[in-house]
Symmetry: C2
Subunit: 590 residues, 2 copies
C-alpha cells in the first residue's frame, strides 16, 4: 500500500513556496494549483496502483543476468515502464522541441517523489534517463540531440551514466577507458562498474553516456571526454541498426535496490564500441558538472521518498498491531497508542515534512536559477542548497527507515514484512551521486569558504528576517517556533565563523564538513517548518482548507523544533570543539 | 580478518575497572591479570582463526531447513561449535558442580565479545545456551539440573528460549501454549515463533525452555509457567531416548544473522511434547526475569561486538584503498588520510571504547551483585546499568555499522565486500531481548520513578565526585574531559528532574524514555572515557606500558567528549521541551 502525499504537496507548493509568484517569475503562467493537483492526482494513482505493487516482489526476485549477457528485470517492470511512457510521464522534464512537456521542477519533483517512493529500484531507470536527457539537451550537437533525445522522452529508450571504474570511483582523475577517433565517431574500449540499468529488458535501446580519455588527452580530470555509446547503433532515421561492441559482463549482488541491475559493462572487446563525442574533447568534467545539480537533487529526493514510504508502512502497522495495553487506554488498543510508538512516528513525520518543503524550495530555486548567469544570486542560492539537500536527506533516510523497522519489532527483521527492504534500499543513497563527504566538501570549500561565507550569510540573514516577522505572530506555536529557529541561526553563524577562521588550515574545515552539512540541513528544515506553521495558522480559519490538516501541521512543526532542531546547537558544539581533537589522532592509533 | 582487542581489555579490566580489588571483593582471589591475559589470548586465537572465517560464508549460505524438518547450519559451523566445546569455552560461566569454571563476568564478557564479533550468527547459539544454564542453575530441581546442565556445559547439547507466539511478542500476557499435567511431567502443545537455533545440526540434543500455561492457570502474565522440553527425551543416565513431539515447521528469511536458524516450532502435534516443570507452576515470569539481566547484558555486548568488527573492517579498507589525493598528502596516500575518513573512524573507535569500558563496568557490577539481597545497593546499581547498556549499545551499533559501510563507498553496498552484513546483522539487536522502548520503560518506570530518582541520583553523585578529583589533574586533557562530563551530569540531572516532576502523568515519562536512555548511555560512556584518560595519563610514564597506547587513549577520550558527549545536552533539551509536543499529536494526524 502506498498513498501519494498529495495534500502535503498542495500545501507546500501553494502556500509554503507560493506557486503563483514562482510561476510568474519563471514564465510558467499557464500552471495553476488546480493543474498541479490534477497532475499529482493522476501520477499518484499510477504510482499506487501499478508501480508500488511491484516493489516487494521486485526485491524478492531481483534482476537476473543470463549467459548471453542479457538481463531480465522482475516480472511487471517492463509493463510498468511502458505505462509510465504511455501516460506521458517520461516526457515531463524535457524541452518541447524534443517532445517534452517542459514542466517546472516544483511539479516534476513532486511527481518523481511518487515514483521513487512507490518503487525506488524501478524509478532509478527514469532518474538516470532523465539525467542523460539534461546532459544531451545542454551539451550534445543538434544532430545527436535529435537522434537520441526523443526516443528517451517517449520512453522507448533509456539512458545510463558510465563514470566509475574499479580504480576510479569518487576520483575520476584515474579513468582509463580509451576513445580513439575513427571518422565521424570514436572507438571506445574499457570497463565500467556500478552501471545502473546498464543492461535490461524495459526498452528497445540503451544509450550509455561514457567518460573516456582520447589518445592525446592530458592526464587527470582535464583529459576526460564524454561519449554517447548506444547499445544498438541507430540509423539516421532513428531505426535500430547493428548491435554495438558493448556487453554486460556481470551484475552485482547488492544490499538493496536489488531489482535494479547494477552492471559491469565491457566496451570494445571486438575492436571498439562506436561512440559519439558530446561537446568537445576534454570537456567531460564540465559536461558532467552541468547535470550534477539535477542528479544530486534527484538523489536527495530519493531520500525523502523512501523515508515517506517506510513511514507509511510503519504507520499502517501501528494502527493494526495490538500488543500490550497502552497507558491510559483499554486492552486491544493498537500500538500507535503506546507513547513511544507515537513519538517515533511523529518525529519521522516531522522530518519527512521538513524534507519535502526543503526539497520543493530547492526545486523552486532551480526553476528560478534556470538560464541565469553563473554569478546570479539565484544560481548562488540553488548551488548552496544542493549539497545540503542531497547530503541531509539521504543520511536522514537511514535513520527514518531504521525507525520504521523498529516499529515493526521482530516482524521488521523478517524480509516478508517488507520494512527491511526500505532500510536496505536506503543505504545506497548517501553513497552514490557523490558520498556525503563529497557533498560536505562541496558545501564547505566551494560554497562557503570560496566566497568568505557570503552565500551562507545571506541565507542566515533571510531566515533571521523571516523569523523576526513570525516571532510577532499571535499564534503561540508560530512565535515559539520562530524563536527556536532564530536561536539555531545564531548557532549556525557561530559554527560558520569557526569554519571560516580555519580557512588556511584546510584539514579543519574538511573534518567539519559533514557535521556542518547536517547542521544546515536541520536548520533549513526548521526554517521550512516555521514557515509552514505560520501558513497553517493563517489558513486555519480559511473555509477552503481542511482545519485538521492545519492543526496537524502546527503540531508537527512544534515537534520538529523540539526534537530535531536541538541538533543544530549540538552539531555547532561538535564543530567548535571537535576538529582539533580528530586531527590530533595519528592514523596509526586507529 | 578479525583481531581480538586484547590490549584494550587488559587496560579496561586492569586499570579502568581494577581487577585486583574486584576479584578480592568477589572471592576470586586466584584470578590475576596475567591469567586473564592468557585466557583472552587463547580465546582471541580461536575467534580469529576458526570462527571469524565462517562469518561471511555463513551469511551467504544461510541455514537450510529440509523436508524432514531438520535444519542444516552453514559449512564449518558444527566443527566450530565442537572446537568451542573442546577448548572448554562452553563451560566458562557455569558453576563448578556442573562442570563449569565459574569465571567472573568481567572475564567471560570479554571472551564473549570475541565470539560475537567473530561471528554473531554462530555465537548466538552459545548465548542462548548460556542463558538457559543460568535459568536452570537458579530455578530447576536438582534432578533436572544434573540431567540437563552438564551436557550443555560440555557443548554436546544446546539450549533455546521459547517465549514468543504470533499474538504475544513483547507482551507475554497473551501466551496460549498449553501444558497438561501427566504424571511426573506435562504434555505441551502450541506454536512458538522466532526461536533462535530452535533446530540445527551442531549438537546431539536441543533443550527448549518453553513458556506455557497450565490448565487452571490465571489469565495474563501471572499464569505462565516454564518447562524444559528436550528434542530427544533423555534417559535417567543422560543417554538419549526417544524423539519428543516437537518439530521445526519453518525457518524465517531474515534481514541478517542469516546463518542462525530462526525457527517456528510446533509442540504437541501428536498428543503433546513431554515437558518438565521448572520451579513451581505460574512462576514463569519470575524465572524469566531472573535470567533477564544476563541476557540483556549479552545482547548489549553483541552491539559492542559487531561495532568493533565493522570498525576493524572499515579501518583495514581505509589503509588499503587509494582514492583521490588527501589534503596535504602525496597522491597514492590511502583514504585514511582524508580528514573525513579519519573523523569517521575516530568517532567510531571512541564510541566502541566507551561501550567496552561501560560493558565491563556492568559485568563487574553483576559480579559484585552476585548473591546480594534484592535491595542491596550493588544490586540497585547493576539493575540501573542493564537497560542502559542493552539499549544504548544496540542502538549505537546501528550507526557504527552504517558508518563502516559508508567508508567503503560503493563497495560497501556490494554484499561480497562483507561490510553490509554487519549493517544487516546489527539491525536485530535493538529488537530482540526487549526492544529499546522496553529497555527505556524499564529504566524510566522501574529504575527511576519507582525510587524517586534515588538510584540515578547516586550514580550522578558518584560521577560528579570522580570528575571533581579529575578536574584538578595536571594533564590538560584529563582536566578538560572532567569538565565536559561534569557539565553533562548537570544536564542529566535537569532531564531527570523534568521526568520525576511528571511522575503522575505516565505518558510523559513514557515519551521521554528512549531519549533518556540514550542520554544516560552517552553520559556513562563519557564517564568511562574520562576515567580512561586519567588512567592513561598516569600510565604514560610507566615503563611496563606501551606509551603510544596511552597517547591514543588520551586522544580518543578527547574525541568522545567533543563528538559524542554534546548529545547529552541535546537530548536533555529534547526531553525538557519535547514531550508535550509529541503528546499533543492526535494519532489520526499521523
Amino acid at each position: 500500500m502506498y498513498e501519494a502525499p498529495i495534500d502535503d504537496y498542495k500545501f507546500v507548493i501553494d502556500h509554503v513556496i507560493g506557486l503563483d509568484q514562482l510561476m510568474a517569475n519563471t514564465g510558467h503562467n499557464d500552471i495553476s494549483i488546480d493543474l498541479v493537483e490534477a497532475v499529482l492526482s493522476e501520477a499518484g494513482k499510477l504510482a499506487a496502483d501499478v508501480i508500488a505493487p511491484l516493489n516487494h516482489s521486485g526485491d524478492q526476485a531481483g534482476a537476473t543476468r543470463h549467459d548471453d549477457s542479457s538481463v531480465t528485470t522482475p516480472n511487471g517492470f517492463a509493463n510498468a515502464y511502458a505505462a509510465l511512457a504511455e501516460g506521458g510521464w517520461t516526457s515531463m522534464e524535457a524541452r518541447e522541441e524534443f517532445g517534452g512537456q517542459n514542466l517546472p521542477m516544483v511539479v516534476t519533483t513532486a511527481v518523481n517523489e511518487f515514483w521513487q517512493a512507490a518503487n525506488m529500484a524501478f524509478a532509478l531507470c527514469h532518474l538516470l534517463t532523465q539525467g542523460q536527457i539534461y546532459a544531451l539537451q545542454k551539451s550534445a550537437s543538434p544532430e545527436h540531440q535529435k537522434l537520441f533525445i526523443p526516443p528517451m522522452v517517449e520512453g522507448r529508450w533509456t539512458g545510463t551514466m558510465n563514470l566509475t571504474e574499479p580504480q576510479a570511483g569518487t576520483d575520476l582523475a584515474g579513468i582509463k577507458t580509451k576513445a580513439v577517433r575513427n571518422g565521424d565517431h570514436y572507438l571506445i574500449s574499457g570497463q565500467k562498474i556500478y552501471i545502473t540499468y546498464g543492461e535490461h529488458d524495459m526498452a528497445e535501446n540503451i544509450v550509455h553516456l561514457v567518460l573516456a580519455r582520447t589518445e592525446d588527452a592530458p592526464a587527470g580530470i582535464k583529459g576526460i571526454s564524454v561519449f554517447i555509446v548506444p547499445k544498438f547503433i541507430p540509423n539516421k532515421d532513428g531505426s535500430l541498426g547493428p548491435a554495438n561492441d558493448v556487453r554486460c559482463l556481470s551484475i552485482e549482488k547488492k544490499l538493496g535496490i536489488k531489482a535494479s541491475p547494477t552492471a559491469v559493462m565491457q566496451y570494445g572487446e571486438n575492436g571498439g564500441a562506436v561512440g559519439y563525442l558530446v561537446g568537445a574533447e576534454n570537456q567531460g568534467l564540465d559536461i558532467m558538472f552541468g547535470m550534477m545539480n539535477h542528479a544530486r537533487l534527484a538523489v536527495g529526493l530519493q531520500g525523502l521518498s523512501i523515508s515517506d514510504r517506510a513511514y507509511q508502512k510503519a504507520r499502517a502497522y501501528s494502527f493494526d498491531r495490538v500488543q500490550g495495553t497502552p497507558l491510559e487506554k483499554d486492552s486491544g488498543a493498537p500500538i500507535v497508542h503506546h507513547p513511544d510508538v507515537l513519538r517515533s512516528l511523529t518525529i519521522m513525520k516531522a522530518e519527512i515534512e521538513a524534507m519535502r518543503a526543503l526539497m520543493i524550495l530547492g526545486a523552486a530555486g532551480m526553476d528560478l536559477a534556470h538560464g541565469c548567469d553563473a554569478d546570479d544570486p539565484r544560481n548562488t542560492r540553488a548551488n548552496l542548497l544542493i549539497p545540503i539537500i542531497k547530503g541531509w536527506m539521504t543520511e536522514r533516510a537511514l535513520d527514518v527507515t531504521s525507525q520504521a523497522v523498529q516499529i515493526h519489532g521482530g516482524m521488521g527483521f523478517i524480509e516478508e514484512t517488507g520494512a527491511a527492504q526500505y532500510f536496505r534500499d536506503a543505504r545506497i543513497l548517501p553513497i552514490y551521486e557523490g558520498t556525503t563527504a563529497i557533498q560536505a566538501n562541496d558545501l564547505v570549500f566551494r560554497k562557503t569558504l570560496r566566497d568568505g561565507g557570503a552565500a551562507v550569510g545571506e541565507l542566515f540573514d533571510e531566515i533571521d528576517a523571516e523569523m523576526q516577522q513570525l516571532a510577532a505572530h499571535t499564534d503561540e506555536t508560530v512565535a515559539a517556533n520562530a524563536g527556536h529557529v532564530a536561536r539555531a541561526v545564531q548557532a549556525a553563524r557561530d559554527a560558520t565563523a569557526h569554519i571560516l577562521a580555519a580557512a588556511n588550515e584546510p584539514r579543519r574545515p574538511a573534518v567539519n564538513g559533514v557535521n556542518y552539512l547536517m547542521l544546515l540541513g536541520r536548520l533549513c528544515g526548521g526554517w521550512m517548518m516555521a514557515r509552514a506553521s505560520y501558513k497553517a495558522a493563517q489558513l486555519q480559519s480559511d473555509a477552503s482548507c481542511d482545519p485538521s490538516f492545519m492543526q496537524a501541521k502546527l503540531a508537527i512543526a512544534r515537534v520538529f523544533m523540539t526534537h530535531h532542531l536541538p541538533q543544530v546547537q549540538a552539531l555547532a558544539d561538535v564543530i567548535m570543539t571537535g576538529d582539533d581533537a580528530v586531527l590530533a589522532m595519528d592514523p596509526d592509533w586507529l
